[in-house]
């Protein structure tokens, strides 16, 4: 497959996966490896002082095997998101940040005003910003203007698994932006991933579709193949749709 390049970094996969909500670390690792992902997301949270080992993802994840993309999940203001991004960079492991500024608890839809404010600040501070946003072209354009490294529109709400609800908006965003467009959130199964890639986007980030599958590694394999198939189909250029039949076999010489 042709390579995905974000901010000058070439990734061997167009699929980026999350590390949350798996039943156990072994299940997670099997899924991550089956997905073929070169980059995985992680969250920043308080250490549990009484049980410091309990949630430490780096006990299981080797940053040499998977590039880390920290997120600002759970932040509802630009100020909080910037603060968490600085904490993530404080590990000394990455100055990349998947920026989320959430505006509503029930839908986890982004607060676009806060998102733009935080994106401006973080770009100014030298972060490589990948901005989670809704499927709105104008917000995507504003984010690109601010200098983000990638724009990450949802296709449906985080964790919903509803798939590609508005292909037109995704195609619009992809057609107008120069920076990579990575769909983040909403993909539920392999056909969603394939159809999403067929819109021409540069990649997909997913978490729940793998973590909540009956067999996460099995679904990760399906997603890897679907992303590759969707990308290949997009590059190949699909046939035109028509609302009438056209025979595939010659009309002449039918035995009769």
């Amino acid at each position: 497959m042709d390579k995905l390049t974000i901010a000058g970094r070439e990734l061997d996969s167009r699929l980026i996966v999350g590390t949350g909500k798996y039943a156990d670390p072994e299940t997670m690792l099997r899924a991550l490896r089956a997905s073929g992902a070169a980059m995985v997301t992680v969250a920043v949270r308080r250490v549990d002082i009484e049980h410091p080992d309990r949630d430490d993802i780096l006990r299981y994840l080797d940053p040499e095997e998977f590039a880390l993309l920290p997120n600002t999940a759970g932040c509802y203001t630009a100020e909080d998101a910037v603060r968490v991004a600085r904490m993530a960079r404080g590990t000394g492991m990455s100055d990349w940040i998947k920026l989320e500024v959430i505006g509503d608890k029930d839908t986890l839809l982004p607060d676009t005003a806060g998102l733009l404010t935080a994106a401006r600040e973080l770009v100014d501070e030298g972060f490589v910003v990948l901005a989670y946003t809704n499927d709105d072209l104008v917000t995507a354009l504003r984010l690109e203007d601010l200098g983000v490294a990638a724009v990450m529109p949802l296709v449906s709400p985080i964790g919903s698994g509803l798939g590609l609800l508005n292909p037109l908006n995704i195609r619009l965003i992809k057609s107008r932006l120069d920076v990579p467009v990575i769909v983040d959130a909403g993909v539920g199964t392999a056909s969603d991933a394939c159809a999403t890639m067929e819109q021409g986007v540069d990649g997909i980030l997913m978490n729940t579709a793998l973590a909540e599958a009956e067999d996460p590694a099995g679904m990760a394999t399906a997603m890897r193949l679907a992303v590759e198939a969707g990308r290949a189909a997009y590059l190949a250029g699909r046939m035109a749709k028509r609302e009438w039949a056209v025979p595939s076999s010659p009309l002449q010489g039918i035995p009769g």
Partner: protein, 77 residues
């Protein structure tokens, strides 16, 4: 942690991850991390909303009313 059990006039009150704690006056950030068993881990220290670099934790002495956030990477999307 032991310091909390032996409160004295030499102790100062700080806040760690939202919980009050007492430490001996003159305790460095590095010493606090050691006392909590967090030294050598991939823990990031934020002191009064400023990130403390690893190279600074030995010299950074805790002051009364300091607020610390000790964070690390966990699983997430």
């Amino acid at each position: 942690m032991p310091e909390a059990a032996q409160s004295s006039s030499e102790d100062i009150r700080i806040e760690v991850n939202g919980e009050p704690r007492e430490v001996a006056a003159g305790t460095s950030v590095a010493a606090l991390l050691r006392a909590l068993g967090l030294d050598g881990r991939t823990v990031v220290v934020e002191l009064n909303r400023e990130i403390v670099r690893r190279t600074e934790i030995d010299d950074m002495i805790l002051q009364s009313e300091d607020r610390l956030e000790l964070v690390h990477f966990v699983g997430g999307g």
